[in-house]
Every structure is written in structure tokens, then in C-alpha cells.
């Protein structure tokens, strides 16, 4: 007799309701209760830490609690103490877990070479170096110190940055500081207008 079958049968015997029923347990309730039912607990109790977070979708700013075990998020739900959402979430906010754990998420850098018809996986550090070179090269080639009328411009019109309304304020700050204050880019925009 295979061990799996043994364990199954042992389980079946432990969960056998008839004897309990015969000694008077309610066949709709206790007599029918299974081992799993006796065991079950909410998985939030497995979390080893809970972080405070803000819903990443719209601008209402619902507070969320992120439950994690090890480095895995195990659930995301509304923060009941928030005066904005008081624990509730909309369908998007309620899907935050599905977004974070989505198997289709990008987890590595994809690179498409000029005239290529496919993506290639490339190391993150390589991509960072390459992007820095491209930024410098394009800036060097297109930087305008003064306009024809002599006005100082100190800008480049050849590099653009687009996006930011979904980013943290700190991220936007570094973007504006580096691209505007450091590189002289003027094409800096985000979803605020769309």
C-alpha cells in the first residue's frame, strides 16, 4: 500500500463523521467539520512585518497596509485608520497585490539594438553605463550656450524626459534637478497635462 494512500486513508478515518454522528453530533455542523476547517487561519497571521503604503493608482491617496513574510508580499489591504479610505479600496487598489506579484512583470533589462527585430537581455550595469554615454554624447552634440541674439540659453533641445505623475516626489525632484539643473534639458513633462 503506497504511503500516500496510507496517509489518505488515515486522514479519511480521522475525518470520518459517522462515529461522531452516531454519538449525537449534528451532521450539519460538528460531525461534518474537517481537519482543515479546524486548522484554518487568515494568512495575515503569517506576516512577519506590516508596512504603511499609499495606493499606486489614482490621486485619492488611499492608505494601504502591506503584509510581508520574508521578502514576499502576502497581502495588501486598506488601512482602516486612514481618514481617506478607512480601510476600503476601489477595484484597482484592491488589485495591488495582483500587480506586485504579477508573473508578467519585467524583472530584467531588455535591450533592442538599432535595426534589430528582437529584444536581448542585458545586465543592468551595462545598460546604465550605455545610457549615461548616450545622454552625454547627445548633450555634447546639441548643447546651446547662447541664442543667436546673444541671450544665454544653456540648454539642449535634443533630449526629452516624459513621465512623473506616478512617481514619488523625491524621484521627480531628482529628475528635475538632474535633467533641468544639471543637463540643461527643457523637454521635461509628465502626465499632469494629459
Amino acid at each position: 500500500m503506497s504511503p500516500s494512500l496510507q496517509t489518505r486513508l488515515r486522514g479519511a478515518l480521522r475525518d470520518w463523521s459517522l462515529p461522531r454522528q452516531l454519538v449525537g453530533a449534528d451532521p450539519a455542523r460538528q460531525a461534518a467539520e474537517s481537519a482543515a476547517s479546524r486548522r484554518t487561519r487568515p494568512r495575515l497571521e503569517d506576516a512577519d512585518r506590516v508596512g504603511t503604503s499609499i495606493c499606486p493608482y489614482c490621486a485619492v491617496g488611499c492608505a494601504q497596509l502591506i503584509y510581508a513574510k520574508g521578502n514576499d508580499v502576502i497581502h495588501v489591504e486598506g488601512d482602516p485608520t486612514s481618514p481617506i479610505n478607512q480601510g476600503t479600496l476601489c477595484p484597482k487598489g484592491a488589485a495591488t497585490l495582483g500587480w506586485m506579484l504579477n508573473p508578467q512583470r519585467l524583472t530584467g533589462v531588455k535591450y533592442r539594438a538599432p535595426y534589430s527585430d528582437h529584444w536581448e537581455e542585458r545586465p543592468l550595469e551595462w545598460a546604465m553605463d550605455r545610457i549615461a554615454q548616450l545622454v552625454k554624447q547627445t548633450r555634447d552634440e546639441t548643447f546651446v550656450g547662447h541664442l543667436p541674439d546673444g541671450t544665454t540659453a544653456n540648454h539642449t533641445l535634443a533630449i526629452a524626459e516624459l513621465g512623473g505623475a506616478t512617481l514619488d516626489n523625491e524621484e521627480n525632484y531628482l529628475i528635475k534637478k538632474l535633467c533641468g539643473g544639471g543637463l540643461g534639458m527643457v523637454w521635461i513633462e509628465n502626465q499632469a497635462r494629459v
Binding site: 479519511a12 463523521s17 450539519a28 502576502i74 495582483g98
Partner: protein, 354 residues
């Protein structure tokens, strides 16, 4: 933790452009107004969506209803013939008992095959619920199986070793086996009737008798068929009388059931083709009328003809199977008709509002 995201996303693939699957169009053609509020017999439905679920029962269950019922009735007939019949009826008794044993062995196979987690078949005997025909049936089948085993064992001892003890064992266990058999041949009607499916639930007091009668008819037919084929039917006329009784009851009950369906306004599924023709020609004609005619000839003529019996028996068996199939499959159709269900559940004076 198992996340659903590893599992396939599985909406019905939306049709590729241009091949939009035809779907009820709630608005266009119906003019202004709220389609969702439109319905049959003045009762609205929700976009014609089913209000209840049909369940998955198909051929395995149909076959079980037929085989289980037949086996049960066969055991019963065997027992009666054993107790009341004479020496000439031993063949009927033997055939009935082996048929019952065969059915008792085949039934659980059909049922377990129909489970969607068959490895857990044993949970059918985990508990007893008097509210569940499925539970009643499981225990009945278990008992019937065990007893039929004893009966069969006894019969075998008698047949093969000519031991008298076998005969006693068979007769002793034959009586409770027959009782279980009686339940076997009828509870399946209740199994269907104790659901929310309009076609089944409206005939709650008719399906069990109908199934019982047609089980008895099928059993009688099966016995006589076997005997005829074995060329040893010395009980032809008695079986013919029995067949007449069962067939008559079956026909009457079938008509009564049909009337009830019409009265309650849920007969739609058996009024549309091909169900209607199968019912009229297959179930009533082939399954009941034909055997009735042939058997009454044999009964009244005070003699029988082998071919006539064979034809009558075959027709009965075919009709009996068709009857189960029709009722089970038409039930699926019935469950998909919110109009029928809402008509049925409209309440004494309709809903207490608006």
C-alpha cells in the same frame, strides 16, 4: 503561497475581430426600454441569463439511473419469484439474482467515474444525511451491493456445487436485498426531484414512481430477454403479465408527469425538438406502447412467441434508457430557462412588491 497569477487567466477567449460570437442584444430592435426588465409571462429576467445552475450530469449518470434501477428491480423480482414461484421459476430467480449482482458491481463504477475527484469516492460514506438523496442513495447502493453479493454467492454455491446452504443463504439475504433493491429502483427519481431544476422539481411525486415502474419493466424485460436468448424461457407468460403491469404503470405515470409539467408551465424542454420526438416515439411509443401491445397479445392469447418476447423486451429496455436520458438532459435545458424558474418561484401571489 499559491498565487492565482501562476495559474492561467481563463476568460472565455473574446472572439477575434469580425467574428463576434452572436449574443442576445438587449436593446436594439426592442426599441427604447429596459431589456433586462423584459421577460416571459410578465416576469422579467436578467438578460436571459440562467437563474440556477444545471449541474454536470450526463451519460454516466443516465446509465447509472438505468442500470441501478434495473438491478434493484431484478433483485426484487427474483426474491418474489423465489418465495412464491414454483420450480419452473428457478431460472427467473437465478437470472434476476445475477442481473442484480452485475448491476450492483457496475453502478459504483459509473458513479465514481462521474466524480470530479474520484480518489475521494470513500467520502460518500463519510456521513449520513437524510436530507440528501445522494447520501441515501450512496448508503442504499452500499447495502444493496453487499447483500446482492451474498445473494449472488449463495446462488453460485447452489448452481456450481449444488449446496443447499447456498440456497438458504441466498433466500435469507434475498429479502433485505430486495428491500434495498426497491429503494434502488426509485430513489433516483427523488435524486433529480430534490433539486431546483424546474423540470425535475415539479415532478417530485411522479418521478420516483415513474422510475420505479420503468425499472421494474426493464428488469422484467432483461430477465425475459436473457431467458429467451438462452432458449429456456418457461416463465414467458408470467413475465408477460408482469411486463404488462409494469409497462401499464410506466405509461400512465409518464403521461401524468407530462401533464404535471404542462400544468406547472415548465414543459418547454420536452416540447422542443428533438426532445419532443424522442419522448413521443422513443419513450412512449417504443418503450411503452409497443411492448404493451405485444405482451397483451401473449397474455390474452394464453401463449407466447419467442420473437415477440424478444422484441417486446428489447423495446422496453431501449425505451427505459431513453426515458432516463431524456429527463436528465432536458433537465439541463430546463435549468437554463430563467423564465420557467421564475414562473415556478413567483410565489403564491407573485412577489410582494410592485
Amino acid at each position: 503561497m499559491e498565487t492565482p497569477y501562476g495559474r492561467p487567466h481563463r476568460p472565455a477567449p473574446s472572439p477575434t475581430r469580425g467574428e463576434g460570437a452572436p449574443r442576445p442584444s438587449p436593446l436594439v430592435g426592442e426599441g427604447l426600454g429596459t431589456s433586462a426588465l423584459r421577460g416571459v409571462r410578465g416576469i422579467p429576467t436578467y438578460y436571459g441569463q440562467p437563474a440556477i445552475k444545471a449541474g454536470h450530469y450526463r451519460w454516466l449518470v443516465v446509465s447509472y439511473l438505468f442500470v441501478g434501477g434495473l438491478a434493484g428491480a431484478a433483485q426484487l423480482i427474483a426474491a418474489i419469484a423465489d418465495l412464491l414461484g414454483g420450480r419452473r421459476d428457478r431460472a427467473i430467480v437465478r437470472t434476476g439474482r445475477y442481473l442484480a449482482l452485475g448491476g450492483a458491481l457496475l453502478s459504483p463504477v459509473l458513479l465514481i467515474k462521474d466524480l470530479h475527484t474520484p480518489s475521494r469516492w470513500y467520502n460518500m460514506l463519510r456521513i449520513f444525511r437524510s436530507t440528501s438523496p445522494m447520501s441515501i442513495g450512496s448508503w442504499t447502493l452500499a447495502a444493496f451491493g453487499a447483500l446482492s453479493g451474498l445473494v449472488g454467492l449463495g446462488q453460485a454455491l447452489e448452481d456450481l456445487a449444488g449446496l443447499a446452504v447456498g440456497r438458504r443463504l441466498a433466500r435469507l439475504s434475498g429479502v433485505p436485498a430486495a428491500a434495498a433493491g426497491a429503494l434502488m429502483s426509485t430513489y433516483t427519481g427523488t435524486l433529480l426531484a430534490s433539486t431546483s431544476v424546474p423540470l425535475w422539481s415539479t415532478a417530485d411525486r411522479l418521478l420516483p414512481p415513474l422510475f420505479g415502474a420503468s425499472a421494474a419493466a426493464s428488469a422484467t424485460a432483461a430477465i425475459s430477454l436473457i431467458l429467451e436468448l438462452a432458449g429456456a424461457n418457461r416463465g414467458r407468460r408470467r413475465l408477460a403479465w408482469l411486463a404488462l403491469a409494469c409497462g401499464g404503470a410506466q405509461l400512465a405515470l409518464a403521461r401524468a408527469t407530462e401533464r404535471e409539467w404542462r400544468r406547472q408551465g415548465v414543459a418547454g424542454p420536452i416540447e422542443r425538438e428533438p426532445a419532443a420526438s424522442i419522448y413521443r416515439y422513443g419513450v412512449l411509443g417504443l418503450g411503452a406502447a409497443v411492448p404493451l401491445a405485444l405482451n397483451s397479445v401473449q397474455a390474452l392469447a394464453c401463449r407466447g412467441w419467442r420473437t415477440v418476447s424478444v422484441v417486446a423486451a428489447a423495446a422496453t429496455l431501449a425505451g427505459g434508457y431513453l426515458e432516463r436520458a431524456l429527463i436528465v438532459l432536458a433537465g439541463r435545458d430546463s435549468a437554463g430557462r430563467p423564465g420557467d424558474y421564475f414562473h415556478l418561484t413567483r410565489g403564491a401571489h407573485g412577489p410582494t412588491i410592485t
